[in-house]
């Protein structure tokens, strides 16, 4: 469950002031946020993810207002309840696939259950890469690892920032399906932010900025 109210943001004191429409999602609901670049899509995502502090307004996740949390508590809350997916998938290159997922669990203070991780890799069809180094993975495998990293800790919200921008139509569809599937499996909200019109048909809730 996630709510935003009267969110505004300003990068510096004389920069543009962004106003964002309110978002109100119940459990397991997903949302597509569409908008051209420069309109503040990523800013909105980072506000929801607690990585940026709004100039005014509030973000509430499961009845906890992010604005009331500070420092370590905020870090912990984000780590535990939010999973981020990026356009360009990235993981720690000095660790292999399974170690990256373990590190993800370590920092959000969760059990590093190996069978849970392997099950996840299996559903994402990359179990055979589990001991591979990041630079040995193909683009597609990396994409799947990115999704695995965003859901391995069973978050309440999955936030995806342009997850399909660099993908062809087929892969675009696959990635979206995987994200929807994983959010359902984890009973999580999925918010996808994009300018990619291709994925419009896959969402019921659409917010255009």
């Amino acid at each position: 469950m996630i709510k935003t109210k009267n969110l505004t943001f300003q990068y510096n004191s004389n920069g543009d002031l962004f106003h964002f429409p309110d978002i109100d999602l119940r459990d397991e609901e997903s949302l597509l946020v569409l908008g051209k670049s420069g309109i503040g899509k990523t800013t909105l995502l980072h506000l929801i993810a607690g990585l940026l502090q709004p100039k005014s307004g509030s973000v509430t996740i499961d009845d906890v207002s992010l604005q009331t949390l500070k420092n370590k508590k905020l870090d912990q809350f984000i780590g535990k309840h939010i999973g981020l997916v990026f356009q360009k998938n990235y993981a720690n290159r000095s660790l292999n696939v399974i170690e990256n997922l373990q590190a993800r669990l370590y920092f959000s203070k969760q059990k590093q259950n190996k069978s849970h991780i392997e099950n996840l890799l299996k559903t994402l069809n990359i179990l055979e890469c589990k001991t591979k180094k990041i630079n040995e993975l193909s683009e597609g495998q990396l994409q799947r690892l990115g999704i695995a990293l965003s859901v391995v800790h069973q978050p309440k919200i999955i936030l995806a920032d342009e997850p399909t921008a660099s993908l062809d139509d087929d892969n675009c569809k696959i990635v979206l399906q995987l994200l929807l599937e994983q959010s359902k499996l984890n009973n999580a909200n999925l918010i996808v932010i994009t300018h990619d019109q291709r994925i419009k048909p896959m969402f019921k809730n659409i917010l255009e900025l």
């Binding site: 990585l51 870090d75 984000i78 990235y90 000095s94 590190a103």
Partner: protein, 412 residues
């Protein structure tokens, strides 16, 4: 998975940088420890070699030479003194022990020292095998002499004239080994001791045969008993005082009122170290400069890691890691690097010193115990950790200023 594992994986992800950091730090640590240990060992060895000798009395000349020759046995003597004069001086109540020594010959480069049974007491040495000398031409070998020459009890040997192996001809008189001293790590380890009379006898006959007396070892051919020790000469006399008062009054008295010279070994050795100390200081400075450079290398490596992996670190923040945990990762990388370097550095220094001491022991004919003062090692490790911690502190500044949102946006 935990912070430590992540740090270690990071370290060995780019081994070249890590190896470079470790290598430079290892070299500086090894150099620092070696030079310190070498310096302490040699100083201690010199002090050891001084034994209980508070003052040495010999012929006039350089006091340093007198000490080097008569106490440390690494230089030629300044000349001879008249035994009678020395004995007269020895009667001074401030003097506890006065040991006459006379030398001028060697066996395979090991000096043969004519003296009395009080000589061994100066070095607190016990007989290990056999007995003390009691008659002329009986000899007691120092530990290293016995080890290196292989001479055993009952063996006989001929002395050569001069103080070095290759200098002179052999004397016809044979010495017999009656005892071997225990190891002391003092100068007595590389000396052959014998009664004063042996030296007199050897040179006495020598001059008889050669038909001309040598200035240094000359003494009359006539009856020993008649002359008593009237004209006999010794090389020098080693003195131990009863109390510190002796140190104040006697040396001056000797230098001003007699034809002899008094030198204080401690003082002369200190003077010597003031000269050689410059070399030690120079090498120490070089080692500290290398330490400084390696701290910069470590800083650059850590800083590079923080900068290059800014996105990784920002990603960890979104995983729930706190700023402090990121700093921990960097700090652990730095500390592991320095710990490995400390272990390697100590090992390298000890291996190097083993080699150096081996060479020194051979040249010096005496095995030198290597003294590693823990206090010094701790001091060096503390220095190393200090510079590494400073390097870490500078390297983590970007983490403190990190803007996760910006890094994630820019990297896209």
């Amino acid at each position: 998975m935990n912070i430590w594992k992540i740090s270690i994986k990071n370290l060995f992800h780019k081994p070249l940088y890590t190896v470079l950091s470790i290598l430079s730090l290892t070299i500086s640590i090894a150099l620092l420890i070696s030079i310190k240990q070498l310096d302490t060992s040699i100083q201690q060895q010199f002090e050891n070699n001084l034994g209980n000798v508070d003052m040495v009395v010999g012929a006039k000349g350089s006091p340093l030479q007198l000490v080097l020759a008569s106490v440390l046995h690494i230089d030629n003597p300044t000349g001879n003194i008249v035994y009678k004069d020395a004995k007269k001086l020895a009667k001074n109540p401030l003097i506890k022990t006065a040991v006459p020594i006379s030398y001028g010959d060697n066996y395979k480069g090991y000096r043969i020292v004519g003296t009395t049974d009080t000589f061994a007491k100066l070095y607190d040495v016990k007989i290990n095998k056999g007995k003390d000398f009691s008659k002329p031409m009986e000899a007691v070998l120092g530990y290293d002499v016995a080890q290196k020459t292989g001479l055993e009890l009952g063996d006989t040997f001929l002395s050569s004239h001069g103080l070095n192996d290759d200098m002179g001809h052999e004397h016809p008189e044979t010495f017999i080994v009656v005892g071997i001293y225990a190891q002391t790590h003092k100068v007595i380890d590389r000396l052959i001791t014998t009664p004063l009379e042996s030296i007199w006898d050897v040179h006495n006959h020598h001059s008889e045969e050669d038909g001309h007396a040598e200035e240094q070892h000359h003494h009359d051919d006539e009856d020993h008993h008649y002359h008593e020790e009237g004209n006999k000469q010794i090389t020098s006399m080693l003195v131990k005082f009863r109390n510190p008062m002796g140190l104040i009054t006697i040396p001056r008295q000797v230098n001003e009122k007699t034809a002899m010279q008094a030198a204080i070994p401690k003082y002369e050795i200190e003077r010597l170290f003031n000269f050689t100390g410059i070399g030690v200081k120079a090498i120490s400075w070089i080692a500290y400069i290398i330490l400084f450079i390696s701290s910069i290398i470590i800083f650059i490596n850590l800083y590079k890691m923080v900068k290059e992996r800014a996105f990784d670190l920002a990603l960890l923040r979104t995983y729930g890691a706190s700023n402090f945990q990121l700093i921990e990762i960097v700090a652990i990388e730095g500390l592991i690097t320095s710990l490995i370097a400390i272990v390697f550095g100590i090992t390298l220094s000890q291996l190097g010193l083993l080699y150096i001491f081996n060479i020194l022991g051979k040249q010096y004919q005496q095995s030198i115990p290597s003294t590693l003062e823990l206090y010094n090692v701790f001091q060096i490790i503390l220095w190393v950790l200090l510079v590494v911690v400073v390097a870490i502190l500078f390297a983590v500044i970007p983490i403190l200023k990190m803007n996760v949102s910006k890094i994630l946006t820019d990297e896209k």
